[in-house]
């Protein structure tokens, strides 16, 4: 009897959390649809978009660049160590290029930008929510979706691919530095090997992933900020939730997109 009740409780909790997840997904989808549909209707706020491009894109460059550089360097060492076990050390340039462009560049770049940008968007919009600034926008006949959310999401979609492209180049350069200084590769051969090996699909996969991650990380910042609870505590929770959910969604989307490009 007790066992039965436990099983029922267990099933109920699964049902509840599944329902909760579906509802959250639905709300998020409606939010995203609402934000993106704003593209179809003027007025537009180009100044806001410019401001967000700067803050999402330009100011994330150092973070993404450093991440890519160190990752490329470490990757070169690892592949050398691994390849040496079956006398295949020469694959370093091509595997570094593939690893960075197809996987690590967009994923690590996306995660780093999520840490930086999702949190700050959630904090900013959340503060605007709790100090009634979002309500004030409505009373000034300005749609907060159009004025706050759309420019940020667009900036993510546009700027993150550029960031990731730059990150890819820097990451490959990190591998090149290690390859030529520590592993005894000839500089010209390393570059030729890299360029010969990479295909257009690799690069497209990198950029498509970056677009998706840019969308996810700005959307999560906006969504959690917009639905922030009351007070400083609410904003704090919104910020944490934005970064955590953006990171997990980025990793999940990465898997799905990798399957798609496989």
């Amino acid at each position: 009897m007790i066992l039965l009740r436990l099983v029922v409780a267990f099933l109920a909790s699964i049902g509840r959390s599944t329902l909760g997840l579906l509802m959250a997904t639905g709300r998020l989808a409606i939010f995203a649809g609402n934000a993106l549909s704003q593209i179809a209707r003027p007025p537009y706020y180009p100044v806001e978009l410019g401001r967000q491009l700067l803050s999402v894109g330009y100011f994330s460059l150092p973070v993404v660049g450093m991440t890519a550089l160190f990752t490329g360097a470490a990757l070169a060492l690892q592949i050398w160590a691994g390849g040496a076990r079956f006398n295949a050390g020469t694959v370093v340039p091509s595997i570094v290029a593939i690893g960075i462009v197809r996987e690590l560049g967009p994923v690590l770049g996306g995660l780093m930008v999520a840490g930086r940008v999702s949190s700050s968007i959630a904090a900013e919009i959340g503060t605007m929510r709790v100090t009634e600034q979002i309500d004030a926008l409505t009373t000034l006949s300005t749609d907060p979706m159009k004025y706050l959310v759309l420019p940020r999401v667009l900036a993510g979609i546009l700027a993150v691919p550029v960031l990731v492209a730059i990150g890819d180049v820097i990451g490959i350069f990190g591998g090149y530095l290690i390859g030529t200084t520590r592993l005894g590769f000839n500089s010209g051969a390393y570059i030729k090997n890299t360029l010969d090996f990479l295909t257009a699909t690799d690069i497209a996969s990198s950029l498509v992933k970056a677009c998706a991650f840019g969308f996810i990380l700005t959307l999560m910042g906006c969504y959690h900020g917009y639905h922030s609870g009351r007070g400083a505590q609410g904003v704090g929770a919104a910020t944490t939730n934005a970064v955590v959910s953006a990171s997990i969604l980025i990793l999940a989307a990465n898997y799905v997109l990798t399957e798609a490009f496989f």
Partner: protein
């Protein structure tokens, strides 16, 4: 007046039809019942003052009218029409509001806050002209042109309130809501603001709803007074009748007595 087509629309009110009417509006947050059947009317060109203890739902009432908060039941009529979103957009175009906390955009300077609506309309007003208009409105709320380029974070609470007021009246709206316009102001500045609100109603013919605890504001600004208590309109009447009213709740409130039907400890 306004030169850009959609900055301020012509008055859509009809004489004799209430600009705003609430019928039995209810709203609860979780288990907490805040509005429990609120009804009142505001006629065109009239000034209603809402009084009531803090936390009685005065701000929530205004937000329900604006559609920022959706009420659970009851009806809200704007110009006699049940509000759907397109009517509300038209309504909002002739509308200005001062929020209780000011709600200034802290990423924008003071003049950009005041001129927000002018600058973000479908056809934005040129920068220079908008700035001049903003400075003129700032002057009306007792702030000099030197405040125009400051940021909200650099202002005192009372100054923020006045910038919020300047923003609310920047497009000469036909309907204005003031949420505690004089809270946090010194008595002289409060007097200036009270006169300004009265002027907007008498000279510009605007319709105003003001929330306040300040009995001077009530007496300067009100045509009608509604007192909220326990989620309902406890007393509604003309300002002339307020002092002779026998309602014990109203009496306790306007005389600020600690004892009476309204429990001081909640």
């Amino acid at each position: 007046m306004a030169d850009s087509g959609d900055i301020a629309l012509p008055d859509t009110s009809t004489p004799g039809v209430p600009r705003i009417e609430l019928r039995d509006v209810k709203k609860r947050f979780g288990h907490k019942r805040v509005l429990n059947g609120v009804s009142f009317k505001v006629m065109p060109g009239e000034s209603l003052v809402i009084i009531g203890g803090s936390g009685t739902g005065k701000s929530v009432t205004l937000k329900c009218i604006l559609g920022i908060i959706r009420c659970d039941s009851g009806q809200i009529l704007l110009d006699g029409q049940p509000d759907d979103s397109s009517d509300r957009r038209t309504f909002l175009k002739q509308f200005g509001m001062l929020f209780q906390g000011g709600a200034l955009f802290d990423s924008l300077s003071v003049w950009q806050n005041v001129a927000f609506r002018l600058r973000h309309a479908r056809r934005p007003m040129p920068r220079k002209e908008a700035r001049e208009r903003a400075i003129e409105k700032l002057r009306r709320v007792g702030l000099g042109p030197e405040t125009a380029d400051l940021y909200p974070a650099e202002l005192s609470g009372g100054m923020q309130k006045r910038v919020g007021l300047a923003r609310a009246i920047a497009t000469d709206p036909r309907i204005i809501f003031f949420d505690e316009p004089t809270a946090g102001l010194d008595p002289i500045m409060a007097g200036v603001i009270n006169d300004l609100i009265r002027e907007l109603v008498t000279e510009m013919g605007a319709t105003a709803v003001t929330i306040t605890h300040d009995m001077t504001t009530v007496r300067t600004v009100a045509d009608h007074v509604a007192m909220l208590h326990d989620g309902k309109v406890q007393w509604f009447g003309r300002i002339e009748d307020m002092d002779s009213a026998t309602d014990p709740y109203l009496d306790q409130f306007i005389h600020g007595r600690a004892t009476g039907p309204i429990a001081a400890i909640r």
